[in-house]
């Protein structure tokens, strides 16, 4: 057997490898390189312009002593957990209802998906107006006669994050519904028939047969929703600008504000490194379970 019969691994699928060079380059230089650069400079006291004067962990000490950062983290947790749960539950329920072979399904699908066509900025502005006490929902209900009705989330520090959550759900659940619907349509009709023959109630079929079969769809959805949660920024800016006071601040906004408004790159980098760290803490165990598990099969 001569060596020429077995081509080197390196040159297999050469075309595909050449074609992916730009993306590999982008990923390494821009994503990984940018990340490393950011983490590196978070240990300096860079102000408006990056400079190499190391201060150790000072930026991180300051970050975790800042009330605004702590509020941001708390808001992100509340917003994250609730938006994950609600968008999955509502999205799945809507999809299951649409899957009952109802009339005008196309119309309903369009209506539910429509908000997704709007950017977060537009969504934020629309809901800022809707939730404004002087001409939004509260004013409408009051003008109908319930004069003591009070619904004013955007100007109440303790519940403002829920006002933002409402807008995010309104915008995002349509997409989740569509993904779920596609998953439901992918289930073989025969499975439904078999379940019916066995006399299993519909809700049980959904819960114990259909949902486990839709695992890949759920994972895709989870990734999309989770990435939307961590980077939430524009919605907050459009709806409340972080207010009242600093009650609806989120980490991404802290990063932006300190990098550009406060002209303190070091502090902004430290905050963005913490955001990256939190994502890694969530992603790594999950990825290990998800992708590490397959090899065992």
């Amino acid at each position: 057997m001569s060596k020429s019969e077995r081509p080197s691994q390196l040159f297999r699928n050469l075309n595909a490898k050449i074609a992916s060079i730009p993306m590999i380059f982008t990923a390494l230089v821009i994503f990984v390189g940018g990340t490393v650069w950011t983490v590196f400079y978070s240990f300096t006291n860079s102000k408006l312009l990056p400079r190499l004067h190391f201060v150790g962990l000072d930026q991180y000490y300051r970050l975790w002593a800042t009330p605004r950062w702590l509020i941001s983290i708390e808001n992100l947790l509340i917003y994250g957990v609730l938006s994950l749960v609600f968008s999955l539950v509502i999205g799945f329920l809507l999809a299951a209802l649409l899957d009952q072979k109802i009339r005008f399904e196309d119309t309903f699908r369009t209506i539910f998906l429509y908000p997704f066509a709007l950017s977060f900025i537009v969504t934020g502005l629309v809901w800022q107006w809707l939730l404004n006490p002087e001409f939004g929902v509260q004013a409408v209900v009051r003008s109908l006669g319930w004069t003591s009705f009070s619904f004013n989330p955007l100007y109440d520090s303790s519940i403002v994050i829920y006002g933002i959550l409402i807008a995010a759900l309104w915008q995002g659940t349509g997409l989740i519904m569509c993904l779920m619907l596609a998953g439901l349509r992918g289930i073989d009709e025969d499975i439904w028939k078999a379940a019916r023959v066995d006399g299993i109630p519909t809700w049980k079929t959904y819960l114990f047969i259909i949902i486990p079969m839709m695992r890949p769809v759920f994972i895709t959805t989870l990734v999309i929703v989770a990435s939307n949660i961590v980077r939430v920024y524009d919605l907050v800016v459009a709806q409340t600008s972080g207010g009242p006071g600093i009650a609806s601040e989120v980490p991404a906004k802290y990063v932006y504000d300190y990098m550009f408004f406060a002209q303190n790159l070091g502090q902004g980098f430290a905050a963005s490194t913490m955001m990256l760290l939190s994502v890694i803490i969530v992603i790594v165990p999950w990825a290990y379970l998800e992708f590490g598990g397959k090899k065992r099969v």
């Binding site: 408006l48 312009l49 009330p67 002087e134 100007y155 600008s241 207010g243 006071g245």
Partner: protein
């Protein structure tokens, strides 16, 4: 007429630049003057610059300085500088100057004797770094004004207050009449600025300088500043439920008589003017909240990024000259409601409030402001603290003061 203007302009440009054809050069100027009164004022600058045969390309960025500055800075640091840009003179552009991204105007300044014409002299200090001049101040803006709606006080049946203490005392009457006593918009810098004004007015000039200039954290935690926090507590109670964001919306509440008053810089003046109101008759202004009549020498200035194009660099010099021209100064400042940077211009058309300001200025009662004394980083921390303090009624005064002292202690 137009031809004459052009020739005059041509003569001026050639005189300024010694030689070269005065081809119309487009110069992009970025600024954050977008409210009604401000836009009217900036149009005056554009008109004066266009009359020199060049062309003012307006680069207005909406959303106040906080939004505009990052955009301007990233354009300059990113290698796409504009012809000229507004900043508040002081420390906002400090690092850009240190990095050599801004043009040194010292030669032009010496030639045109800026040190002699700019009044008060401390104004140029804000533009100077290591003995070199980097910006052209165009106006003096002071924060320390209280704007009161005469109609609101009439409706409440109390006389228009003459100082902050009377105003606080009149608050319950205003509230009873269904009027918002004090309007403070939701933008963080408004709450922070209002506190600074209270510090200068209630605490006095010395206290202000001790805190912001000497950065004395112990003093900031002490009883004198506690008095100021007490006043700020009054202010936040009076400002409760102001459901507006932008400063001009808050000013509009005062103009329409829905709110009793607003602590805001003299740029609010332009809004009253656009609304057709007369100082003294429809509204009252109290410099230094009627307690400490001082004028801060903050304000706006134009910086000129270092450009490679010689044509544009020439146009920058023409613009710098135009900005300090007495005629431009008068036209611009009357519309803007701010004070001119030259002592030798005649402001006959100035209204009551501007005259009050000019008088204080003439007496030499000036003090530096936070833009000159504090870094943007410290300013931002202060904004975070006071926007929370004003929005969260259950945050205690003691807690706020403790955090304030910590910020002062770590300030640079």
């Amino acid at each position: 007429m137009r031809y004459q203007l052009m020739t005059a302009a041509l003569a001026l440009t050639t005189a300024l630049q010694f030689a070269g054809p005065a081809a119309a050069t487009d110069l992009e100027v970025t600024h954050w003057w977008t409210s009604g009164g401000e836009a009217a004022a900036v149009a005056e600058l554009a008109k004066a610059f266009d009359a020199t045969g060049n062309h003012w390309v307006d680069g207005a960025i909406a959303g106040s300085g906080g939004t505009a500055r990052p955009i301007m800075i990233s354009r300059i640091t990113g290698g796409d500088p504009m012809g000229a840009t507004q900043f508040n003179h002081g420390r906002q552009a400090e690092e850009l100057v240190q990095a050599g991204l801004m043009r040194d105007l010292t030669d032009l300044a010496t030639k045109e004797k800026w040190t002699e014409i700019v009044q008060p002299k401390s104004l140029l200090d804000g533009c100077t770094l290591d003995g070199k001049i980097y910006c052209v101040p165009v106006n003096i803006h002071s924060w320390q004004w209280l704007w009161l709606s005469n109609a609101a006080f009439e409706k409440a049946g109390v006389p228009v207050p003459k100082n902050w203490n009377e105003y606080v005392a009149a608050a319950p009457a205003l509230e009873k009449a269904g009027i918002q006593p004090l309007a403070v918009g939701g933008q963080p810098w408004q709450a922070s600025g209002a506190f600074d004004v209270l510090l200068a007015a209630v605490g006095g000039t010395d206290a202000f300088l001790k805190v912001y200039k000497d950065k004395d954290a112990e003093f900031a935690a002490g009883p004198e500043v506690a008095k100021v926090f007490k006043a700020a507590d009054d202010a936040r109670k009076m400002a409760k439920n102001t459901n507006v964001q932008d400063w001009n919306q808050a000013t509009n509440l005062v103009i329409t008589g829905k709110a009793g008053g607003q602590i805001m810089g003299d740029w609010a003046q332009g809004e009253f003017q656009v609304a057709g109101q007369t100082a003294g008759k429809d509204y009252t202004c109290l410099p230094g909240l009627g307690l400490n009549e001082m004028i801060a020498t903050g304000g706006d200035a134009f910086y000129f990024p270092l450009l490679k194009d010689p044509e544009k660099s020439k146009a920058q010099e023409v613009l710098a000259h135009t900005l300090l021209d007495p005629k431009t100064q008068v036209a611009f400042n009357l519309k803007k409601g701010s004070l001119p940077v030259r002592g030798d211009v005649d402001l006959k058309a100035a209204n009551d409030c501007m005259k009050k300001g000019l008088e204080i200025l003439a007496k030499g009662n000036v003090m530096p402001w936070t833009d000159q004394l504090l870094s943007q980083d410290t300013q931002k921390q202060k904004e975070d603290l006071f926007s929370e303090f004003f929005a969260k009624q259950d945050m205690t005064v003691e807690d706020a003061q403790k955090r304030f002292a910590a910020i002062v202690g770590s300030a640079d």
